[in-house]
Subunit: 338 residues, 2 copies
């Protein structure tokens, strides 16, 4: 057996696949935030020309994939697989958004870790020689998520300070066996971690232990430290969850410095836009990666990024039945050199 | 690039992973059906010792994995990855059922095709040398599915003749890089196929075009015909969907003979048990595979099976919004020789 693992949980890719294209779509809040100029397209209302918010979310995925294909001058038939999922019940954002493309499809459910999970599996299948080109993508929408997980937006429910704001956004990365980078060099698969947090308005705390678990495994397996990366960036832990991960590492004697960021703390202007503990949703890390981060790597701003989005694997039903909130985190190392 | 594909969509595995263990769990109807004796464990009520049906579904996944591990004398730490998903919103059957095992987890959403999708990805990652052992699994539960997709069971809604009965069942396969078989030799990834069917009580018709699409791609890619397999078996097309696939092939001049079966037509006694068009749900094909089918292969009953479960990628929300029902089908070829 040709075991390509380093350590227990991390795979070091022998033929690191290259990012050859990426695209992101956002809503009005995302446009008005500090990363607004890093979006390929933003919509001024939340419907993207559709009649319902769910159809709008599908439209965002469709636009994100089409733009990523266009930027690489590719046709849908040039892709071997799409890996995608979203937060909606039965992942309808992905299945309805992508049905017209006629591309072999592996549907995922990783909640807000989906951008990490989809990139991981796409990279593994390309590295293994099973595919030449794959798309990895996901989306979220504030209005679909509120109505599904909490309350319909028109009810005007009040949100506690620990609550996060689900991004209305989608992101798509196209990976290729050949290319000029950035490259996916390592992937670490997450475990389901549940430390008993039950507050659905404090997802950051629920997901922080999963982020710590995966990041610690990654550093252990690769024998590196946070200082070896230009950025170590989680998906949507928000203010509280992000601080908890920093604390966990501090207890191990590992200092996460200024290069430890969270997509959820970058997407909105924390002072001018009232988003409480930060952004969340699959679309948060997906849109920050497929614009600001990958764009910055191409411009030479960062050489090596450890991208580690987290997901909360709850449903309203599980919470109604008194269950706590399990989390998961999938980490992907992206580098400008192989 | 080391392209391991045959044809456009099928991967021929260079080092076919071996099934080293499998287990299935069922409810009362499954026990009373013609395949009752092929279950490892059946529950006489629908709660499996839990207080809610959703927790019962998680309990079934937990039992299925534990039994599969026990039969192979393995511990959870002996598995590199689990690939799992289910029909419940946010796939809580899997995340809550599997959280205690502490095994790296890739969550999937493939609706009732999940057993095919999970086996495919597990086989690819083992074949590629990224893992030694993986579990592939899924579940469904009649009462959780009815309340989520249609009406709560206590309402006593009437079901039309085309409706199928969601199996209360779970199944788990453990694949290993080494073993005595049966082996996973080929996998074909499905595409999202939508032919405009909108009747949520006629899933078989909605999924049939996807089954035809994937099976036709598989036969074309491998240059084989249905007669080359001891069984060509779909997941839960039921009576109507199964007949439609037969018709589609007939139009191409290909006759699917008596070896073309459907797990949904095997699980219950169609005369004595009133299940209308047949069984459905992720747990239907998962439990038939991980008992009757794999057991039969070990006994020499069949040498080569093409297992092709289908999924309907709808949600109640998509149907309320007037959407049609997209389907998908993932095919896996299982053989007693490499």
């Amino acid at each position: 057996m040709n075991n390509k693992r380093v350590g227990r949980r991390t795979v070091a890719l022998s033929h690191p696949p290259s990012v050859i294209s990426f695209a992101n779509i956002g809503g009005k809040q995302e446009k008005e935030g500090p990363l607004g100029k890093f979006f390929d397209e933003t919509g001024d209302d939340s419907f993207f020309g559709e009649k319902t918010w769910e159809k709008a979310e599908s439209a965002m995925q469709k636009k994100a994939l089409q733009r990523a294909l266009d930027k690489a001058r590719l046709k849908p038939k040039d892709l071997d697989y799409i890996f995608a999922g979203d937060l909606l019940n039965q992942c309808i954002g992905s299945s309805f958004g992508l049905r017209e493309f006629n591309i072999p499809f592996y549907g995922l459910y990783g909640a807000c870790s989906t951008m990490g999970e989809s990139l991981s599996l796409a990279a593994l299948l390309i590295d293994g020689g099973y595919a030449r080109r794959c798309a990895a993508m996901t989306s979220s929408h504030f209005c679909t998520a509120e109505r599904q997980y909490r309350m319909p937006v028109p009810y005007g429910s009040q949100r506690p300070p620990t609550a996060q704001w689900t991004a209305t956004a989608a992101g798509c990365t196209i990976l290729d066996a050949e290319g000029k980078g950035p490259y996916i060099t390592h992937v670490t698969c997450g475990k389901i971690v549940d430390r008993g947090i039950t507050d659905g308005n404090n997802m950051g705390a629920a997901m922080a232990p999963a982020a710590y678990d995966t990041l610690a495994a990654f550093f252990r397996d690769t024998e590196t430290t946070p200082a070896d990366y230009d950025l170590v960036i989680t998906g949507d832990l928000g203010e509280l969850g992000h601080a908890i991960v920093r604390d966990f590492f501090e207890k191990d004697g590992v200092t996460l410095g200024d290069n430890f960021l969270d997509c959820g703390l970058l997407l909105y202007n924390r002072e001018k836009q009232d988003m409480h503990a930060g952004a969340s949703g699959c679309g948060c890390s997906a849109s920050v990666l497929n614009g600001y981060l990958l764009g910055g790597m191409l411009e030479g701003k960062w050489k090596r990024i450890l991208f580690a989005p987290t997901g909360a694997l709850l449903s309203p039903t599980s919470s109604f039945q008194g269950e706590s909130i399990p989390g998961i985190c999938h980490a992907v190392c992206i580098s400008t050199t192989k």
